[in-house]
Symmetry: C2
């Protein structure tokens, strides 16, 4: 346990936004600069952080269990997810997988299981194993390499993770590491939640989708043939480590899929972020490192704030699912993996926006802006022809947001950046939206 | 939702032991009478309860979410499991399945899924459906009837519960009811924990084993071919409803299996309860209602106290596993279901006691008392011949109480009623115990 015991002796400092600064940043009231280059840099030192409204704090609540060391110069920023004794940091920056100490301080016990897939393993598995073991001979690492794709996010594949952990005789003092996109994160997280009734885990998301959305907030789980994410747990990681360099190997379609969730944050709660996206979409798609880091940071801040306020999705958190109810129906109807999650969400957002407009809740100018930005991002703006009204209805009937038989939806209402989560809408308008987007 | 809305209007009173009274009762300092008949009666009225050291309290902490009504005269006693906002009552008494209101007040939403098995369904399913729906037309009940036996406590069977809930289009506002023994309770509880990332559930245990142990404390899960309970969750029910009449249909072997866990509480923390058992074992085996109710109540009190102090098994809770590490090895070695859980635990306790004696931690008089009481209860006092030293060692290596490779055991130390949970014992003594109980 070299990693753990040596970290005990280290000072426990970390950079974090204060909640109020985060809100200020989000609203752009005081601290945020509209220009990309000056607003975000890949190397923020402590002094500079303080100047920019970040604070350096002794993290007293977590010192006992999990000491932290000073964050080195390569970590651009840390976004905190505030959940009492289950709080954790999201590290965002370039080259973080080479910052071995950053990962090692969050490992519990001597045994680590890296869960990854056939696409990501050749690219980053060796790097992660080195990060875990370098200068840390007390730790041994096993890995399980799953097939790649949403269609493998099911019980049979999940069992392979349990098999590996049990055959390797892992005990409760171990750590699971999710290395990959959203599917890997969701499955590894659920496996960590259920193995021996709960072991520690770390998220290393390697897709934009996972970095801006699925790795943050503790939703884990698998699909059922009748619907997405129907079996799972709320289970928080020890940390999320986002090395923005991993996006260099991401296919274009996957990149665009992640952008869909970035756009979502703007629409539901952050008008200024949406406006920034309208100006910087080309830079994002061209993988401008500053643009990507800016988008990831602001997405994580939005998500962390929502999750901190409503971890178990009593209400507010559901707003993060704008377009997802329609989108899940597309994914389920096509069979998992035909369309990427973000592609289905993009079409779903257009449908939610269409319904919001039919209900008279938003202006047509907003409808146009949504269509335009999604087209700029090369994302679909309508469901595929094969999805029928009936397919939408039957999948939507088993959506997790159904309560006592009533389907609640996230819809836009008012100016850009405002939404509602409600079951109180005209069903005829929903029917009209479905009819207008489906061939049959 | 007739049940829920009508209960909102009701007074929220319940009987409960205060924590200090519970401790007094357990220690027998002030309130406990040694005679069976006068100490426990099947009908305790409010006035009498107060006289006996029970209190009637407005349950302020839970009023907002889940109001309770006055407990009727048929409820002999209520044991509280104190876990902050996840606290819940254990109702113990004769004829509780006819007290429809008692069950209905804990149902959330309009949909209920009863999970039971082929043995219990013909006996009690209709009764439970009636209890759920009587005078409560807003609630609809589905049921899933699983095959009976420990060998079905696995992922394939668990999936049938998810299939049923999803095919029936259950949403988050629903309640799962576990009707059966420990296997049903563990599986239904884990299904409730994972379905849509968590729905409400109620335990109606129908075996003595489940009533005195497995239904209380929120441990849920399934087995893996390589070990017991390796996949699961800590997930607390809304209430545990113990109708002692259900024991009238329990086979003798099952009854004795439950008695093993009753004996365990005496050994690890309640000398006076053990002494009561030594005097009343014949009454227990003859299903004397007062003796059974006394044993269930005192077992639940012991378990509730331990779970309240250590829900996630950081240390103290592990002591409830006296004999279980050896016992699990027997169950895994024989194949699940050959021996009943309590039978394996009984043999396991003898082995733990043997090891404690070899270490010089207990007197030989205690060894004899343990053997005598287990023989009185017609429980095994040694593992079956087919289990080898190697089988013990390989199963014990994947026990959940292994930490960083070190197997910790619960062993008796000092006078009756005292135990330790420790990895600090002589391995040679463990080898000697294994050698002396195994043919090969």
């Amino acid at each position: 346990m070299a990693a753990v015991s040596s970290s005990v002796a280290s000072p426990s400092l970390r950079l974090s936004h204060t909640a109020s600064n985060r809100r200020s940043l989000r609203r752009g009231v005081a601290l945020r600069s509209p220009s990309l280059a000056s607003d975000f840099r890949l190397s923020v030192h402590v002094g500079e952080s303080v100047r920019r409204g970040l604070r350096v704090s002794a993290n007293s609540a977590q010192v006992m269990e999990q000491p932290r060391r000073e964050v080195g110069p390569k970590v651009s920023t840390v976004v905190d997810v505030d959940l009492g004794n289950r709080s954790y940091p999201i590290y965002i920056g370039s080259g973080l997988l080479e910052e071995h100490d950053l990962l090692q301080r969050h490992v519990h016990g001597k045994r680590v299981l890296v869960v990854t897939n056939t696409t990501v393993a050749p690219l980053y598995l060796d790097k992660v194993v080195t990060a875990l073991t370098s200068g840390n001979s007390g730790v041994s690492v096993e890995s399980v390499i799953l097939p790649d794709g949403e269609k493998y996010k099911e019980m049979g594949t999940l069992m392979k993770v349990f098999d590996k952990a049990i055959e390797s005789r892992f005990d409760r003092r171990c750590t699971f590491v999710a290395l990959g996109g959203g599917v890997i994160g969701d499955m590894c997280g659920f496996a960590a939640a259920a193995f021996l009734r709960g072991v520690n885990f770390i998220q290393i998301p390697t897709t934009l989708m996972a970095q801006v959305d699925s790795s943050v907030g503790g939703k884990t789980g698998i699909n059922h043939p009748l619907g997405k994410n129907l079996i799972g747990a709320f289970y928080q990681p020890q940390c999320v480590l986002i090395d923005t360099d991993t996006l260099n190997t991401l296919p274009e379609r996957e990149l665009a899929s992640g952008v869909a969730e970035v756009i979502k944050y703007g629409l539901i709660r952050d008008a200024e972020f949406f406006e920034w996206q309208e100006k910087n979409m080309q830079a994002l798609l061209a993988r401008d490192p500053s643009a990507l880091a800016y988008a990831i940071k602001h997405s994580c801040e939005n998500k962390a704030e929502v999750v901190s306020l409503d971890e178990k999705e009593s209400g507010l958190r559901a707003t993060l699912n704008l377009g997802h109810t329609f989108g899940h129906a597309i994914e389920t109807g096509l069979g998992y993996g035909e369309w990427l999650h973000g592609e289905a969400v993009a079409a779903g957002m257009v449908m939610a926006v269409d319904l919001s407009y039919r209900l008279g809740w938003i202006d047509d100018s907003l409808v146009k802006r949504v269509l335009t930005i999604l087209q700029q991002a090369r994302l679909p703006t309508a469901p595929p022809d094969s999805i029928t009204v009936e397919m939408f209805k039957s999948t939507m009937a088993v959506d997790k947001k159904v309560a006592d038989g009533l389907l609640r939806l996230i819809l836009l209402k008012g100016p850009l950046g405002n939404c509602v989560f409600t079951g109180d809408y005209d069903r005829k308008a929903l029917d009209e939206t479905l009819q207008s987007f489906c061939k049959s």
